[in-house]
């Protein structure tokens, strides 16, 4: 007996859709269930079978928690002609380390992101357009290599250290270990807060600020009492994403040699195990914690990241935003703090280029401009196989994404049924769900029972799951673009089609899709690039069968092998350079097509 409310919902659905569309919707829901919902549920349910008091007690002990903390906060070494200060941070164990890093990075990234967004939204100054473009550079995905560049600059015997020696300052600085991770991740992630805050600021009705000013609020007081609260949803959404990205980041901990964080623990456990039984329950709990904290953030900011909200934002400020000329102190802040900060954050991307085009980079300066690394790529069987796999997986994923995203965006924007809100949530949530949790959930679910040994079993055949995971994780970029396009298509155009006797799906194919084809294409391009750069599931699933591993896994292998600046890092940088070029092309095209000002928004 079906509950009446469900019958009413399905009844209304079937009435408003038609058979083909209903089937497409079912297909989409099936994929979401199979790749997202059920794996995550099994991840959360899994510990229930193996948990015991011992496990809980174990999680409060080393290596999960280290109390008192190990190591030194700061080490200073007297080296005769100079004093070396090494900023490190103590090791407090896997769980506290991860939370402390994520928390510190979130706070720092939020401060920087809000500052830059505020300056860029509210002040008119020479170079503003340049600032806006430059602040997007750190968002270019440069899997792993960016963190190694940061290490090269700040870490042991780094450029910073050597520069200070060269200037003969009498002391020198190295930022390593957890302090280095915090620094590197802050550089990588603050633009996410910046973009979300900027979009929110451009949305604020200027008359609200004018009103407050009229009542006597000025300067920082105006910012704190009116501007900030009004843009808070954007700040919160950005900060939430940074928190999640930081927790699941692998690159910076690898580069700065931090072993004890959740992300590395998960990857180490999976990569080292030959079947699912070998996975320790502790690791599953860690991945569950990752998932739960991400979900809490997501639920807190869900309205802001929903399709509806996004479509509103991409149409840009409905008002002409308030811009003022900065006063002298603000000019100083802009040119002496904001600009240097932005340029500073571009260093990893620039460093990638240096690695890619130089013969070696051991000391401060690289030596020998060369294209050899790119030539070598073409001869390297690992790279060729990785690239081929990535292109195949991404192509399959994109095909699915186009179908699923169009269906979901169409249903969310056109069908009036209770439950459509859930669909919206489901479609956007992959943006915020850690890929490592998804990957582990997939491994758990598809390596047991009827799936063991089947074509879905990740231990023998990860390819299928990788492609499907891509389609779910990177689909939201297309869903958003399609949804935004649908908002531009007047509903009467569709009604006219049905009125002429065409069914819903015929209207979709002959009227709606031709009108929003460009949106679908632009979204698909962005999704494709992000599939090519996907890291978490690629590494976890790819490691189970390297022959089927995608290119990001190869990069991961090379950077871990090229520890300390061997030739492999140059090769990895060359691959990443190609990927950066791909991204710039894709983003340019899709921005051009969509006339979006913020195609990256919410990354």
């Amino acid at each position: 007996m079906v509950p009446p409310s469900i019958r009413r919902i399905t009844g209304a659905l079937v009435f408003q859709l038609d058979t083909p569309l209903t089937l497409l919707l079912l297909l989409s829901l099936t994929i979401f269930s199979a790749i997202l919902v059920i794996p995550l549920a099994s991840l959360l349910a899994k510990p229930a079978t193996g948990i015991s008091m011992d496990v809980v007690r174990g999680l409060l002990e080393y290596p999960y928690v280290a109390w008192p903390p190990l190591g030194e906060w700061v080490i200073s070494v007297d080296r005769g002609d100079h004093k070396l200060v090494i900023l490190r941070f103590k090791d407090m164990g896997i769980i506290p380390n991860t939370l402390i890093i994520a928390f510190s990075v979130t706070v720092l990234a939020t401060l920087i992101g809000v500052l830059v967004a505020y300056v860029s939204a509210r002040y008119e100054f020479p170079g503003r357009a340049l600032l806006r473009i430059l602040s997007l550079v750190p968002l270019l995905y440069t899997p792993f290599v960016n963190a190694f560049v940061a290490y090269k600059i700040f870490g042991d015997n780094g450029i910073l250290y050597n520069a200070m020696i060269w200037f003969n300052l009498g002391y020198a600085l190295e930022i390593t270990y957890i302090a280095g991770v915090i620094l590197a991740q802050t550089m990588m992630f603050w633009p996410i807060v910046y973009l979300n805050t900027l979009a929110a600021l451009l949305q604020v009705d200027p008359s609200l600020e004018e009103q407050a000013e009229n009542m006597g609020a000025r300067g920082f007081r105006l910012f704190r009492s009116v501007t900030l609260p009004l843009s808070l949803p954007g700040v919160a959404a950005g900060a939430g994403l940074v928190f999640i990205f930081s927790m699941e980041d692998l690159a910076a901990p690898i580069a700065f040699k931090v072993d004890r964080v959740v992300s590395r623990e998960i990857v180490r456990a999976i990569v080292g195990s030959r079947d699912i039984e070998a996975l320790s329950v502790e690791v599953v709990i860690l991945a569950g914690l990752l998932l739960v904290s991400a979900l809490l953030w997501f639920i807190a900011v869900k309205q802001y990241v929903s399709l509806r909200q996004y479509a509103m934002i991409v149409r840009g400020g409905r008002w002409k935003p308030r811009v003022t000329r900065p006063g002298l102190p603000m000019y100083i802040v802009i040119y002496l703090a904001v600009f240097p900060l932005v340029v500073f954050s571009m260093l990893p991307q620039l460093g990638v280029l240096v690695y890619a085009f130089s013969g070696s980079w051991l000391g401060v300066l690289p030596s020998g401009f060369t294209l050899d690394h790119f030539r070598e790529l073409l001869r390297d069987p690992n790279v060729i196989s990785g690239l081929r796999n990535s292109v195949i997986y991404s192509t399959i994923a994109i095909t699915l994404i186009v179908v699923i995203s169009t269906t979901i965006a169409y249903v969310v924007s056109r069908v009036r049924v209770i439950g459509v809100g859930v669909l919206d949530l489901l479609a956007t949530s992959p943006l915020a769900i850690p890929g490592l949790s998804i990957a582990l959930g997939l491994v758990i679910l598809y390596s047991i029972g009827p799936f063991k040994g089947s074509f879905l079993d990740p231990f023998s055949n990860p390819a299928v799951l990788i492609a499907l995971a891509y389609s779910v994780r990177k689909g939201p970029f297309t869903t958003r673009a399609v949804y935004a396009g649908l908002q531009q298509v007047h509903q009467a155009l569709e009604e006219a089609g049905m009125n002429m006797g065409a069914s819903r799906s015929r209207v979709l194919f002959t009227i709606v899709l031709p009108l929003i084809g460009l949106n679908v294409m632009a979204g698909a391009i962005v999704s494709f690039v992000y599939c090519m750069t996907e890291v978490s599931t690629s590494i976890v699933l790819g490691a189970l069968n390297p022959a089927q591993a995608p290119i990001t896994y190869v990069i991961y292998e090379y950077v871990t092998a090229g520890y300390g600046g061997g030739a492999f890092i140059h090769l990895a940088a060359a691959i990443v350079t190609l990927i950066m070029v791909l991204q710039v092309i894709a983003i340019t095209i899709s921005n051009y097509i969509l006339k979006f000002r913020y195609a990256f928004l919410g990354v």
Binding site: F15, D18, H490, A492, L493, E495, A496, G497, M498, N499, M500, G501, A502, S503, R506, T510, I511, P514, L515
Partner: protein, 360 residues
């Protein structure tokens, strides 16, 4: 030719009742107009008939078949949308041919029928243009061609003239009537313009806040409005408050308006002492040159006079302190401050009970 019948149709948007037990029957081949102010539910009624909205209560029949729960594409209605809803990515030809393609006609047949529609609407030569390359009037015709070419059972028009300029509006509405006379397709037409409604309709249904308040020929609705709302909506009129003080043997009521006595008629049966509203149309006042005293002759001082084209509109301050607006034809000059004497036939004085009653 199909009959369209609505029986007790109600439509809610959330808790708001947009249609309240709407019932009417459109006779085969007639032009039936839904007339009412903006927001009264005209579009919603049309959308219920086309199948874009499913009513919570009531039934819709087309040609005797219950289509209440049929999908839009199963009803064979053809709608001309307010903004035309032409598909911007298709040429004029493809726009018109769409319904025929959906119905599976052969290429040859499609070409023939589209050609016929293009001819009929004077669109020959424009078939390869895109909608955005057409003028408003041409777009309107394409929308109309697209609708008639599929030989629908019912033609639905939602304020089709509202995007045209005033001159074009009158020409196009005449063309619509001629076309409809030729094709004899049952037509439901929506407008908020009473003049437009009167000029094109066989019958009019007046709507107010989701209800049908009167159905009749244009003349019936105009000359015998069912309530004060309709009386004031059809044409320009004055509404005065008064009390019934008597009734003549010939059926005329005598009403006291603030000391002024007038004779008038009512569709309702009134009793002495009833508070009433008295409606007098601007054009029903007749200027008297000679000095005559008889019932319904009133005197007033012109406080404002303005030319409105076919007549002069004068605002008269009556002896009892009320101000009424009247149209004066055949008079070239009126001076403000001048005293005028006017006569209003008791037939043209419409009396309604003050407590607004609604008749269906």
């Amino acid at each position: 030719m199909a009959e369209v019948r609505l029986e007790g149709v109600s439509k809610y948007f959330g808790r708001f009742k947009a249609l309240d037990r709407v019932s009417f029957t459109v006779k085969p081949g007639e032009i039936f107009t839904l007339l009412g102010p903006s927001g009264c539910g005209k579009t919603t009624t049309l959308r219920v008939i086309a199948g874009f909205e499913i009513p919570e209560e009531g039934r819709v029949y087309i040609d005797g078949v219950d289509v209440t729960f049929k999908k839009p594409y199963e009803r064979n209605t053809a709608m001309v949308f307010q903004n035309y809803a032409l598909w911007p990515h298709m040429t004029v030809f493809d726009n018109i041919a769409y319904g025929l393609k959906v119905r599976g006609y052969s290429r040859e047949e499609i070409r023939k029928r589209v050609s016929w529609a293009l001819e009929l609407l004077g669109l020959k030569g424009l078939e390869n243009r895109y909608p955005l390359q057409l003028s408003g009037g041409q777009q309107q015709r394409v929308a109309l061609a697209r609708a008639i070419v599929v030989e629908p059972k019912v033609l639905l028009f939602d304020e089709p003239l509202s995007n045209l300029d005033a001159r074009l509006r009158i020409r196009v509405r005449e063309e619509i009537v001629l076309l409809q006379r030729k094709l004899r397709i049952t037509t439901i037409y929506v407008t908020h313009d009473q003049e437009e409604a009167m000029s094109i309709s066989d019958r009019i249904a007046v709507m107010d806040r989701g209800r049908i308040v009167q159905i009749g020929t244009p003349w019936e609705v105009y000359s015998n409005p069912a309530n004060v709302f309709i009386a004031t909506f059809m044409g320009r009129s004055n509404v005065l408050e008064g009390v019934v003080v008597g009734r003549e043997a010939n059926g005329l009521y005598i009403v006291d308006i603030n000391g002024l006595r007038v004779y008038g008629t009512s569709r309702e049966s009134l009793g002495e002492g009833d508070r009433v509203k008295v409606v007098i149309r601007n054009e029903d006042a007749e200027l008297l040159e000679e000095d005559r005293t008889s019932p319904n002759v009133v005197e007033g001082k012109v406080v404002r006079a303005s030319l409105i084209g076919f007549a002069i509109q004068a605002r008269l301050l009556l002896d009892n302190g009320e101000i009424i607006a009247i149209y004066l034809k055949n008079k070239t000059t009126i001076n403000e401050g001048e005293k005028l004497r006017i006569y209003i036939s008791p037939e043209d004085v419409k009396i309604y009970k003050s407590l607004e009653t609604v008749e269906v």
